[in-house]
Amino acid sequence: MSKKEIISIESISKIYQLGDNVVKALDNVSLKIFENDFISIMGPSGSGKSTLMNIIGCLDVPSKGTYKLDNIEIDKMTDSDLAKIRNQKIGFVFQTFNLLPKLNAVQNVEVPLIYSSLSKSERISKAKNALNSVGLGNRLDHKPNELSGGQRQRVAIARALVNSPSIILADEPTGNLDSKSGLEILKFFDELHQAGNTIIVVTHEDSVAKRAKRKVEIFDGKISKDE
């Protein structure tokens, strides 16, 4: 079965220049990602994992090289095109959850929907459904500080899913969780993968990487292993 190629990275570099000090966060990296891949990215701290994720997620642009998403060159896109891609095609999950502290669970999950053209009632029902699907149907009105770490990350996952994106990007999603909560979160990634989503997870933990179908390792801004 030949799978559709959705991400194509060709010899990209990300270079930071701090005074005389040149940091190559990514150094001539090439990577192809196919539909319904489940990829883990591992590597020591500072090796460039987050940088790669940010580029894949259209939050950042490479200094060199080309990046195509769904066969469209990102370089050629305007700011609002990129925003639309982030909104429609990509769901982010962060290590530190990044929930808005003054909003309750439903309102937090609603955030991506605000930037797609939906009515208020559609937004709320979609947000509630997403929270139900991560098992938080009974925590709709809770603010982040009224939720456990695992629950917070589940709200964040609901938020990443709510616009039904095809790609889920998770940068150390279990890094701030105990192992039991971490397992719960990973269960959702398995389910999403089975449902046909493409999943890319940055992690330090072998137990997380073990679930991925494809393991990429990064060292000093270069891909050292891809299997």
Partner: protein
């Protein structure tokens, strides 16, 4: 653009703005104080200017837009009274020259003026007395005979003690009763009231009220009140001929006075426009001060809003990064923060309107403050403008944030 203006987005942004305000009430309050002062000043100024206008209209009517007054002194002078000190009095004889030579003057009358205490029974009051010709009946301006009649040529010839009275006489002396046929005393002499003038109200004239007027034949005036008062010649023309009639009157007067070409006028031809200039400069002065105060307070509040917005952007850097990661465009972020600035500004404006409303309730009796829907409308416009102006730089800073840096911000 259509998406930019979508109603639900606007409400969403206002909701976000309101939340930001809730977390910062003191700062918002201080900011809105500037707007309050601004709105209050504007409303007082507008009301003040419009009431000056109203008074002015009445005074114009009182002096008439078709009348020239040949007097010893100009109505408006710049404190150089010494220049006018030795001018001769206006002589009744000069009228002959005017009637004889003038082309543009349709009617003339002498007008002698003095102030005297009038009394009826136990009540007494200061009254302005005019001694005039019978022709003055057609030269009344801003008022007319409402009750009774003017004096006749015969009464003038015979120096009869008959008077036409302004509206204050009825209320002051006769408790609102009809004064016709009654007798009041002026300087110890009795006069019969034969006519009554229509009420004019307050005006910007010496004495304030336009209604404490008593008119009598100038012959009677001369016979009984001879030692007091000053004389003027009242000339009637047509409104569109005012300028030329004025020039003509000046020329004839120079001839009557036998002035040499290099001599200055030793009389003045006055008309209501002299007052207009004074009123206009008063209006400009009031409006100028008002707009200065308003301008300063609006600038202060704009700076306040800008400051609140800078803080708000700083505090919510991470939120901005997150919203961008979730699909917000730079424009979405810009609109979000502009809406917040406008919301703060409008809340300040509302506070201002409420305060002005309260103050008008309290002050209405002795300050000419008016309060209307137009004010609310303009306030709204000004607030939107100030909100957008003051919010623009912070909102653009927010919109231009790089999402990754913003997300990493603690």
């Amino acid at each position: 653009m259509e998406k930019f203006l979508k109603m639900s987005n606007i409400f969403q942004n206002i909701a976000i703005g309101l939340r930001a305000i809730k977390s910062n009430p003191t700062r918002v309050f201080l900011t809105s104080l500037g707007l309050t002062i601004g709105i209050f000043t504007v409303s007082i100024i507008t009301a003040g200017v419009s009431s000056i206008d109203k008074e002015f209209e009445k005074s114009m009517a009182y002096y008439g837009n078709d009348k020239l007054y040949v007097s010893t002194w100009p109505w408006s002078f710049n404190f150089d009274w010494w220049k006018y000190r030795n001018r001769p009095r206006i002589e009744e004889d000069n009228l002959q020259y005017i009637t004889q030579y003038s082309e543009y003057i349709d009617d003339v009358s002498l007008r002698k003026t003095t102030w005297i205490r009038g009394s009826y029974g136990n009540t007494a009051s200061w009254l302005q007395i005019n001694g005039v010709y019978p022709s003055y009946q057609d030269m009344l301006s801003g008022t007319k005979i409402e009750n009774g009649r003017f004096f006749s040529q015969n009464e003038w010839d015979l120096q009869r003690r008959v008077i036409i009275v302004g509206a204050t006489v009825r209320d002051g002396f006769f408790d609102g009763q009809d004064p016709i046929g009654k007798t009041i005393r002026l300087g110890g002499v009795s006069f019969e009231v034969i006519g009554e003038l229509k009420k004019q109200g307050m005006g910007m004239v010496p004495g304030g009220t336009l209604d404490n007027l008593v008119i009598m034949p100038s012959t009677t005036f001369k016979r009984i009140l001879t030692r007091w008062g000053f004389d003027e010649l009242v000339l009637k023309t047509k409104p569109e001929q005012m300028a030329i009639a004025k020039e003509e009157a000046e020329m004839i007067m120079r001839v009557a006075r036998k002035l040499k070409p290099d001599e200055e006028n030793n009389f003045a031809v006055n008309s209501a426009d002299a007052y207009k200039e004074q009123f206009d400069s008063l209006k400009i002065a009031i409006a100028g001060v008002g707009f200065l105060v308003t301008g300063i307070s609006l600038i202060v509040s704009a700076i306040g809003i800008m400051n609140v917005m800078f803080v708000s952007v700083k505090e919510r850097t991470k939120e901005i990064g997150l919203r961008k990661a979730m699909g917000a465009t730079s424009r979405n972020i810009l609109v979000q923060f502009l809406s917040e600035a406008v919301t703060i500004s409008i809340i300040g404006g509302l506070a201002g309107i409420i305060l002005v409303k309260l103050l008008t309730l309290v002050l209405a009796t002795f300050l000419p403050v008016s309060f209307d829907l137009l004010l609310i409308f303009y306030t709204f416009l000004v607030c939107v403008f100030i909100g957008i102006t003051a919010g623009m730089i912070p909102a653009r800073n927010a919109a231009n944030l790089n999402p990754i840096d913003a997300l990493r911000h603690e």
